[in-house]
Amino acid sequence: MSVTDQRAPGVRISDLSVVYRTQAGELPAVRGVDLELMPGTITGVVGESGSGKSTLALSMLNAVQPPGRISSGSVEIDGLGDVVALRGDDLRKTRGRHVGYVFQAAQNSLNPLKTIGKQLLDLGRSHDVDDLPGLVKEARSLLDRMGLDGARVLDSYQHELSGGMRQRVGIMLALVLNAHVVVLDEPTTALDMITQATILRIIREVHEERGLTTLVITHDLGVVAEIADRLAVMYGGRLVEQGPTREVLGAPRHPYTRGLLQAIPRLVGDIDEARALPGRPPTLSTVPPDGCVFRERCAVRMDVCETGEPPVLTIGPRVVACHAAGDGESQKETVTTGPTRGEEQA
C-alpha cells in the first residue's frame, strides 16, 4: 500500500456559478457556491436531482460540459491553484493525476472493447508514467486492497464485472495516479444494499489510508451520514446549509434540511411520521431569480423571502442561508477555521 507522502490538499470553492445556455438565455445551475473542503476530510453534498450537485462535482475538474460553462468563481486546490483558470494540457494533466473522479456505478465508465489493464496502460501513457509495470502493480494492490482479485480484474472486460466490481475499478482508476483530491459522483447509486455498504466502507478506509480530501455527491442522506465528516445541502443550485454532518443531521437549521430528514421513513414508529416535502424542486427554468429559492415549498416562509436573498449566516462551524435561521441563540459571526477531521471521531 502506498504511503501517504504528502499532506492532503485543501480545496476552496469560492462564489462558484455555472450557467447553461438554453433557448431562454443562460440559466444558472449553480449559483454563488462557497464551500471549503478541509484537508483530509470527506465532504458530502446532498440534494435532489437537478439541484446542481453533479454540476458542482464536474466544476471541481473544470469539466462542465457544453452547453454549460463556469461563469464565475474559482476552485482553488492547494498546490495546483485555481482549476477554473487551467486550460488545455495543464487541465488535462490535472484530471486523473491530481483530482480523481469516480462515476456513478450504474454508468459505464469503462471502454467496453478494452480490458481494464489496457485502459490502465492508456491512462498511464496519457500521464507520461515511465514506470508502467509499477503502475500495474499499484493498480493490482489497490484492487486487492478493495477485496478483488487484482490480476484477474485487470485481465477482464467491463462486461465481465458486476456493478460493485466496476465501481471498485472506477475508484482504483481515480487513485492509481496518486491523486489526493477525489470526487465521487453518486458512488453507490444503483448498487444493492450489501455492495453499497462495502463500497462505502472501502471509500472510508482508502480515504484514511491515503490521506485524501474527498467530495461525495449523493441524493442519499444515509450515505452521507455513514461516511461524511461535513455535509453540504444543495437546493436549486445554491448551498442552503453546511456544517459537521452530525450537527446538521441532528439539528438542521434550514427548513429544507428539516424537510429532507422528515421525509425519511423510520424503521420504528408510525410510517405516517415520514412526510414528503410538498411541491417539487425547481428546474433550471423555474428557479426564481430573486429571493429565496426554497420559498415555494417552505413551511416558515416570510414576506422577506420573496425579495431578499437569504443572508448567509455562519453559526459556529455551520453555515445556513435562510431568513428564518437567524433568530434564537445564533449569532452572526464569521468563523475562519472550520472543523478538522478529528472532530467526527469524538
Partner: protein
C-alpha cells in the same frame, strides 16, 4: 468477492462450434432459397425457346430461320415433370453442377457466372471499399463538427447522395464525362485496339473504362456510410466512458481511438452485407455503362428465360450473403469482446 465466471476464454473451441453451427444453418438456408427460386423461375410465364425466337425475329431474322436456330436449344431444355426437374437440379447442385446456360448455348452456368463476376467484383468491390473509407472518415468529422457549418455540409451531402437513385447519378456522370467533357469512355470494359493481357495499354484502358462505374458506385453508397458513421459516432460521444476518459485526463488521441473503434463496430455488419450483395452486381450502373458484370448478366438471363443461369445467379448471391454474414459474425468475435464471451454482457 470473487470474480463471477469469466466465460468464453477458451476461445478456440467456441469459435469452431460457432462456425459449425453457422455452416449447418447456411446449408439449410441455401436449400430453402434454392427450392423457392427454382419454383419461381420455372413458373415465370414464357420459356427459353419462345424468348429466343421472339428476340431473333425482332432482330430481323425470318420466322423460319429463327425457328431453326431455336430448335438447337431443344436439347438443352429440361425434361420431365417439375418434380423430376427439381430432383435433377438438386442432384446436379450436389455435384457442383449448375447446369447448362441457354442464352449462351453449350456453356456451363459456372463459366458464364465466372466471366461476368470478374467485371462486377473489381469495380463494385473498389467502389464499396472506396466509399466505405471516405464515408467513415468524413462521418467521424461530420459527427465531431456537427454544430459547425462544415459538419452540416457533410451531412447534407450524405443525405443528398443517399437520396439520388443510382441510375440518375450514372446518367448524370455519364453525360458530364463522356459528352460535355469527353474525357472518359462511354461504355465497355476496354478498347478493342489493345490486346488483352498484362500490357500497359490494356490495363490503362481497363482503368479508364472502370472509372465511371466505380466512381458512380462509390458516390451512390458514400451517402449511406457517412450518415451511418455520423450517427454511430454521435451515439458513442454521448456514452459515459468517453466523458470518464476525459475526466481521467486521457490524451485526445487515445480518446479519439476509443470513439472510432466503438463507433465503427456496427458498421462492419453493413459492410459485410454489402460485400455479399455485390454479387448481385450493380444492375443500373452496368446497364448504363454497358459493363458486362453480374447485374447485366442477370437481366439477360431473365429476359432470355435462362432457367439454369438465373438459378445459378440467385444461388451465387445467396451463398455470397450467407458467407458474408458468417464472416461478419466471426469478425465480431475478434473485434468485440462482448460477442466473444457469448453475449451475457450486462
Amino acid at each position: 468477492m470473487t470474480l463471477i465466471g469469466v466465460p468464453g476464454r477458451s476461445g478456440g473451441i467456441a469459435v469452431v462450434r460457432r462456425l459449425a453451427g453457422h455452416l449447418a444453418r447456411g446449408l439449410v438456408m441455401i436449400l430453402v432459397v434454392t427450392t423457392i427460386s427454382f419454383l419461381i423461375i420455372r413458373n415465370i410465364p414464357g420459356d427459353p425457346m419462345a424468348a429466343k425466337y421472339e428476340k431473333l425475329v425482332e432482330q430481323g431474322m425470318s420466322p423460319e430461320a429463327a425457328q431453326q436456330a431455336v430448335n438447337v436449344l431443344y436439347g438443352f431444355m429440361p425434361t420431365g415433370s417439375m418434380w423430376q426437374q427439381y430432383l435433377d437440379y438438386m442432384k446436379g447442385l450436389a455435384h457442383f453442377d449448375l447446369g447448362q446456360s441457354l442464352t449462351v448455348p453449350g456453356t456451363g452456368v459456372g463459366t458464364v457466372l465466372m466471366s461476368a463476376a470478374k467485371w462486377t467484383l473489381i469495380p463494385v468491390l473498389a467502389g464499396t471499399l472506396l466509399s466505405f473509407l471516405v464515408g467513415i472518415i468524413l462521418g467521424v468529422y461530420a459527427a465531431i463538427k456537427r454544430q459547425g457549418k462544415l459538419g452540416d455540409l457533410l451531412a447534407i451531402s450524405g443525405s443528398l447522395l443517399h437520396g439520388v437513385p443510382q441510375y440518375v447519378l450514372a446518367l448524370l456522370l455519364g453525360a458530364i464525362f463522356t459528352t460535355l467533357i469527353p474525357i472518359l469512355p462511354a461504355g465497355g470494359t476496354a478498347d478493342i485496339m489493345f490486346e488483352p493481357g498484362l500490357n500497359a495499354g490494356y490495363i490503362g484502358s481497363l482503368i479508364q473504362h472502370a472509372t465511371l462505374p466505380v466512381v458512380t458506385y462509390a458516390l451512390a453508397s458514400y451517402g449511406g456510410w457517412i450518415l451511418a458513421m455520423k450517427s454511430s459516432v454521435v451515439t458513442v460521444l454521448g456514452d459515459d466512458f468517453i466523458l470518464a476518459a476525459e475526466l481521467r485526463g486521457m490524451k485526445r488521441s487515445i480518446i479519439f481511438r476509443y470513439i472510432a473503434r466503438n463507433a465503427i463496430l456496427p458498421l462492419f455488419t453493413i459492410l459485410a452485407l454489402s460485400l455479399g450483395m455485390l454479387f448481385g452486381g450493380a444492375i443500373f450502373i452496368e446497364r448504363i455503362f454497358n459493363y458486362p458484370g453480374l447485374g447485366l448478366m442477370l437481366i439477360d438471363s431473365i429476359t432470355g428465360r435462362d432457367y439454369a443461369l438465373m438459378g445459378g445467379a440467385f444461388l451465387l448471391i445467396t451463398v455470397a450473403i450467407i458467407i458474408a454474414n458468417i464472416a461478419a459474425d466471426l469478425l465480431y468475435t475478434v473485434i468485440d469482446p462482448r460477442v466473444r464471451s457469448g453475449g451475457e454482457a450486462a
